[in-house]
């Protein structure tokens, strides 16, 4: 598959502070890449560099095969960008604003009206198209920002925290829109809401302190999350060494005298053996709950690991 974005060894320094440290990745058509990271991790900096708003200290960015530094205009032609603050001219109406954006992106005169109508329809802006942007609510302003990014039907859409300030219904609409767009575009979206990544992305990257610490498909990540364990409560204190001997059990974590968490492998599920052992030993099983690792846990683990 042809790569829409190729980034190699990207660095960005602010003075001595290194905001982006050796980031390399690719994005192919039909992928929705979720960019995760705590505040100040370098998400926005990376996106700004991708869109030509910020020059990288070193490294190479290729968009649709065009180097962003050597052929910026050709590269930018296939980009749609929504920054963290939507770039809106508050004294224009939605229609005027989108018309201006269409001009900036060099849409042919005879297809401007059609492009604007399509973007408005996709973002649910048809009813407000003649209102001033200044008078719109935050959610609608965000939608105008998204409309601006998809207006010229770019191959790559880069959205910096697209669902901030939206109500739950709008959020699910926007996520649906992202999934729909993801079918025939490449999308990068940054967020710190983990469930958003699970819902709308096909790939996920976690960035922390400027470094890429995880690059994985969401399906792969889901597999990670299922390695977990069983929370077991018994009336009498169980003997950990007996349980450890059961094939498939990796570790045992003691919460209280009567409550333990048994970590086991995914491939070999020892649940049946465990229950049988406990009953046979007469510890009186009271509760047996599978524990799933959430994306939050993985995120916390990874960011904590790289801190230490």
């Amino acid at each position: 598959m042809e790569n829409l974005i190729e980034i190699e060894h990207l660095y960005r320094y602010y003075g001595k502070y290194c905001a982006v440290n050796d980031v390399s990745f690719t994005l192919a058509k039909g992928e929705v890449l979720g960019f995760l990271g705590p505040n100040g991790a370098g998400k926005t900096t990376t996106m700004q560099m991708l869109c030509g708003n910020l020059a990288p200290s070193s490294g190479q960015i290729k968009i649709n095969g065009f180097d962003l530094l050597d052929q910026p205009n050709k590269a930018k032609r296939s980009l749609g960008y929504l920054p963290d603050t939507p770039p809106l001219y508050k004294d224009l109406s939605v229609q005027e604003f989108l018309h201006y954006c269409a001009g900036l992106h060099g849409i042919a005169k005879n297809s401007i009206a059609q492009a604007i109508d399509k973007a408005k329809e996709r973002c649910g802006l048809a009813d407000v198209s003649h209102r001033l942007i200044a008078n719109l609510s935050k959610g609608f302003q965000q939608r105008v920002g998204i409309a601006q990014a998809i207006l010229h039907n770019p191959d790559i859409i880069i959205l910096d925290e697209p669902t901030v300030g939206l109500d739950p219904i709008q959020i699910s609409e926007i996520r649906a829109l992202i999934r729909e767009l993801g079918e025939d575009h490449g999308i990068i979206l940054s967020t710190h809401i983990l469930s958003e990544v699970q819902e709308s992305c096909s790939h996920v990257q976690i960035i922390h302190q400027g470094r890429l610490i995880l690059s994985e498909s969401v399906a792969g990540l889901n597999l990670h999350m299922n390695t977990g364990g069983l929370q077991v409560t018994t009336r009498l204190a169980p003997d950990a060494s007996v349980l450890l001997a059961i094939p498939g059990v990796i570790a045992i974590e003691t919460l209280t005298d009567h409550q333990i968490i048994i970590h086991h492998s995914v491939t070999h599920d020892p649940t049946k053996d465990i229950t049988e052992t406990i009953i046979a030993a007469g510890w009186e099983l009271q509760e047996l709950t599978p524990v799933k690792k959430s994306m939050e846990d993985i995120f916390m683990d990874l960011t904590r690991d790289s801190d230490s």
Binding site: Y14, Q48, C51, G52, N53, L54, A55, P72, N73, K74, K76, R77, L79, Y81, P83, T85, P87, L88, Y89, K90, D91, L92, Y100, C101, G103, L104, H105, G106, Q148
Partner: protein
């Protein structure tokens, strides 16, 4: 090229969305009309005396030239206010990224912005020129001299606007941009005032002075030195603006 036009026309239209452009146009027109009328009053008083003198200054010298000089001074005050928001406001409202991520080179952004604001100033010059043209109803004008004045004022506003644009590109706040523009322009305006003192003449200062070149052109002496001064002046500040917008990407 069409992108330049897109930016320029948006800039021009946006000026009229706020009361600023309308206010400036109204006030400028009011003040200059008043000065114009006083000048005509003076001329009608002097006319009987002038008729007896051989080679006396005519209508154009007494009415038109002072009008354009005054217009130059008022535009010196007004231009910084009009140009201060050009790039500065975009940066503050975070709308600059819309332009930077669009497939437009920085040179086109700057030239588009420049032409947009220049449009308003050209409109002002046009409205000012209507005043002397109204004299044609009852008198005769020296067309050559009128043209020289018009050319001088046009070149003056192109230079003023480019300075304003540059200051707006580097300043973090519109007020700072306005003060900076006004400072530079006023300094260059008064630069050759030292000439009169103690017979000291500095050729460099004389060459740098905007006023000197403006007055040369106004007197009807259209020399390539003066024209190229203004063109170089404008080109320098536009190039500096483009450079400074390029630098925007490098650091923050």
């Amino acid at each position: 090229m069409s992108m330049i036009f897109t930016i320029a026309s948006r800039e021009f239209k946006s000026l009229f969305l706020s009361p600023l452009a309308w206010t400036v146009l109204a006030i400028l027109q009011c003040i200059l009309a008043y000065l114009f009328l006083t000048q005509i009053e003076t001329f009608t008083l002097l006319q009987p005396k002038l008729a007896t003198i051989e080679g006396a200054p005519g209508l154009t010298d007494i009415v038109v030239t002072p009008l354009y000089s005054n217009a130059g001074i008022i535009l010196l005050l007004v231009t910084p206010l009009l140009t201060m928001r050009l790039i500065c406001e975009e940066r503050r409202n975070k709308t600059l990224s819309l332009l930077l991520s669009a497939p437009i080179s920085n040179a086109n952004i700057i030239i588009g912005k420049y032409l947009g604001i220049l449009g308003l100033l050209l409109l002002m010059v046009f409205l000012i020129t209507l005043m002397p043209l109204s004299l044609l109803v009852g008198g005769e004008l020296d067309a050559g001299k009128l043209f020289a004045n018009l050319l001088a004022l046009l070149l003056l506003v192109t230079a003023f606007t480019s300075t304003g644009l540059f200051m707006s590109t580097i300043a973090g706040h519109p007020t700072v941009a306005a003060m900076g523009t006004f400072g530079i322009l006023l300094l260059l305006w008064i630069l050759d005032w030292t000439t009169g003192m103690k017979d000291q003449r500095s050729e460099l200062f004389e060459y740098l002075s905007i006023l000197r070149h403006f007055q040369n052109l106004q007197s009807g002496l259209i020399s390539s030195v003066d024209i190229s001064y203004f063109l170089l002046f404008t080109a320098t500040f536009i190039l500096l603006s483009i450079r400074s917008l390029d630098n925007e990407r490098l650091q923050k």
